[in-house]
């Protein structure tokens, strides 16, 4: 996997050279030599350049791993002969809690064992079909150049074993799967996995490498219908998936099975999609992919949020984690994540990094459309500023709109409050007895026990000093004249006087 940065600046150089060269009629032979060199940096040469000769040294038995783990990086700079022993087992395993399914597996897991080789290696592949299997099976590795990807050479009856040998001429991350009739059913039952063919120089080291493979599953019963579920061919043909899962079961990557990492580490995910039908919109909630090797190929894109993983295809994503928390792996075709199980987790441990992410800082009330039309408020204010006078009617109208927007949240639109929690204003002895105290309470709030209409209240009223004098006067005037209250009036001058002569509590506005 080449580093594109070096390549791109060289590209610019060459493009400029070419442009200048063509315009000024420069020597064509020097241009093509440079272009050829440039091409070598961008182009691995494909399978034609992938044969590094016969294997060197003793044959090595390949280490295979079960998901989500991968074998260690290859540490070799010569081609070798690798012996891969892979067994097919048909197993009853839970697909979801309380739901059993008969999976057909490579190596006893869905997805199957992860195979890691180096470009140019010769792989002697042994496929064994356990005697308890009902079905014959074979294998098609997308890394194989040859008939059927190996499928025509590995058709194996139960209780038998096949062998074939191939050379891995192309680097990349490749899917393998069973190709026995009916192919869709074998794949739908979980017969897929990944084989990584490392470039000759290996992959740049990272802190964590994990193996995640998506698949769609089709059962006769509904999603999460308990019991043993059979495969439903009709749903598979219609591409109506019952489950869409990472690593073969709903619990595969959540809870105790979540992947783990520490802040500051770089994670590499080898992502596969066995299908059989659905394409994945692969995304990790809470992170951005610093690099994506799209479709498991050689060159990477940077700074990607969501990448497509084709059915029967792969991708390699790399990202550095900076803050602790739980990252959620999803197929961003989002109903699959929340209604069909396409969900996994990465738990990141480490110290907080508030400069990058703080979590929730403020939670305040937002009244939204409870705020009524405030033109009446504007009218009252205009009246006062132009004529020096505002009528009680104007104050009441303005106060009604302001009350609805600010006070009704607790005291309710009908002024009755909430029993034992928020005191009423309608017919409330505590309110009506002392208007000056009422202004003070609106400005400065009130804490501590009070008795209103023989009912005790011990709540907190926050200071509302952000309201200006007009607004306080209008709200109180409205309250004194509503809900059967006898009447009264508060003027802006009174509000201003109380504002000047009392102290705001800490944190309140002016």
């Amino acid at each position: 996997m080449k580093n594109r940065r070096i390549a791109s600046s060289a590209t610019i150089g060459v493009v400029l050279f070419l442009t200048f060269g063509l315009i000024s009629g420069a020597l064509p032979s020097r241009v093509s030599a440079a272009a050829a060199q440039e091409r070598a940096l961008l182009d691995t040469g494909g399978s034609a350049a992938g044969d590094f000769g016969p294997p060197v040294g003793e044959p090595i038995v390949a280490t295979l791993t079960s998901p989500p783990y991968v074998p260690p990086p290859i540490n070799r700079n010569t081609p070798a002969k690798l012996i891969v022993n892979l067994e097919v087992r048909e197993l009853d395993m839970p697909i979801s809690e309380g739901v059993m399914y008969t999976f057909w597996t490579f190596g006893g897991t869905v997805p199957g064992s992860f195979i890691r080789v180096r470009q140019g290696d010769t792989i002697e592949f042994h496929l064994a079909n356990h005697p308890s299997s009902k079905m014959p099976h074979n294998i098609d590795l997308h890394a194989v150049t040859g008939s059927g990807g190996g499928a025509s050479s590995s058709f194996t009856a139960p209780g038998h074993e096949s062998q074939f040998t191939f050379k891995a001429l192309n680097q990349g991350l490749f899917v393998y799967h069973c190709a026995t009739a009916p192919v869709g059913m074998h794949v739908a039952n979980g017969m897929y996995g990944l084989i990584l063919v490392e470039p000759p120089g290996g992959l740049p080291p990272v802190d964590r490498e994990y193996y995640v493979m998506q698949g769609d599953f089709y059962t006769v019963g509904k999603y999460r219908e308990k019991g043993h579920q059979a495969f439903d061919m009709q749903k598979a043909i219609e591409e109506n998936a019952t489950y869409v899962l990472f690593n073969g079961s709903e619990g595969a990557l959540v809870g105790d099975n979540a992947l783990s990492a520490n802040t500051g580490e770089t994670i590499r995910l080898f992502v596969g999609n066995g299908g059989p039908n659905l394409v994945s919109s692969f995304h990790v909630i809470g992170e951005i992919f610093d690099k994506v090797f799209t479709e498991g190929g050689t060159h990477y894109q940077e700074n990607v949020q969501t990448t497509l993983v084709p059915a029967g295809g792969s991708a390699i994503t790399e990202f550095r984690v900076e803050v602790p928390g739980t990252l959620v792996i999803v197929d961003h075709s989002i109903f699959r994540a929340f209604n069909k199980g396409a969900l996994g987790m990465i738990k990141v441990d480490g110290p907080e990094n508030l400069a990058v992410y703080t979590g929730k800082e403020v939670d305040s009330v937002y009244l939204g459309d409870k705020v009524k039309d405030l033109t009446v408020v504007a009218e009252a204010t205009t009246a006062y500023s132009t004529t020096g006078e505002v009528t009680i009617a104007q104050q009441i109208a303005a106060g009604e709109a302001l009350f609805a927007g600010t006070c009704s949240v607790c005291h309710q639109l009908d002024g009755r409050g909430l029993a034992t929690v928020f005191p009423p204003l309608a017919g409330a002895d505590f309110f009506l007895a002392d208007t000056t105290r009422a202004i003070d309470i609106v400005l400065n709030g009130l804490v501590g026990p009070i008795t209103v209409n023989d009912q005790s209240y011990d709540s907190v009223m926050p200071p509302m000093s952000q309201l200006n004098d007009d607004e306080i006067a209008d709200i109180l005037t409205y309250s004194l004249n509503s809900w059967g209250n006898d009447g009264g009036r508060v003027t802006r001058e009174e509000a201003a006087e109380r504002r000047a002569s009392t102290e705001r509590p800490p944190g309140a506005a002016h």
């Binding site: 009856a157 209780g159 009739a181």
Partner: protein
Amino acid sequence: MMVLLAVTAFAAADDFRGRMATVGPGEFHSVIPEGKKDAVIDIPVFQLDQRPVTNGEFLDFTNANPQWQRSNAVRLFVDASYLSHWETAIELGPDVDAEQPLINVSWFAATAYCEAHGARLPRWYEWEFAAAADKTHADARDDPLWRQQILNWYATPGSKALSLVGQRAENFYGIQDLHGLVWEWVADYNALLVADDNREQGGADKLKFCGAGAISMERKEDYAVLMRVAMLSSLEAAYTTQNLGFRCAADLSEGSQ
């Protein structure tokens, strides 16, 4: 080859026929066309075992024909797993029920058994013709529920203990256990035609196959047939597996039925 398999003629042919049902004649719409688009095969009348051959029945056969006991059988005709589930070459043992269908048997051994009874293995078309029936219809292959039921068996793993023969309902012809118990050998299993890689539709290896080319199937929704074809195609005549047994067939002779 049949001449080389020396077997003792065993039990009166009529007794043996007594356990067979008569099937056909009829027309069979095969899913695998013999070179033509829609293959309609004429199936002449034949007889077919109502149940698969059991452990007990095969034990009687090997007792009378010791060359077919597992300690004696020629390795050309059987593989290493032949009758491996029996405790010894001549005893079933406590873990094996005489009424369970015989498994771990090769095509050669199955053929020898049927021949010893004046019978033969059914041909593939005959087997499929009988197997297309449910309880009330000769051809139930268009019934999605029936198809799903069969597929449910194919979907469960093979590790559960085999049930006894004759437990399931009789089909239209009075035959049991064509589905849901074990795979079954047919005489011409090797004339089936799955290319090792199922995706080689009409590929370069057409000449390999006596029947049609690689799978160019009609009735794609009846994919249980595909699975049976795939299974049989993966076998060699000497192979045995834990999920494969057989039953016998016979041509209708005068005087019987």
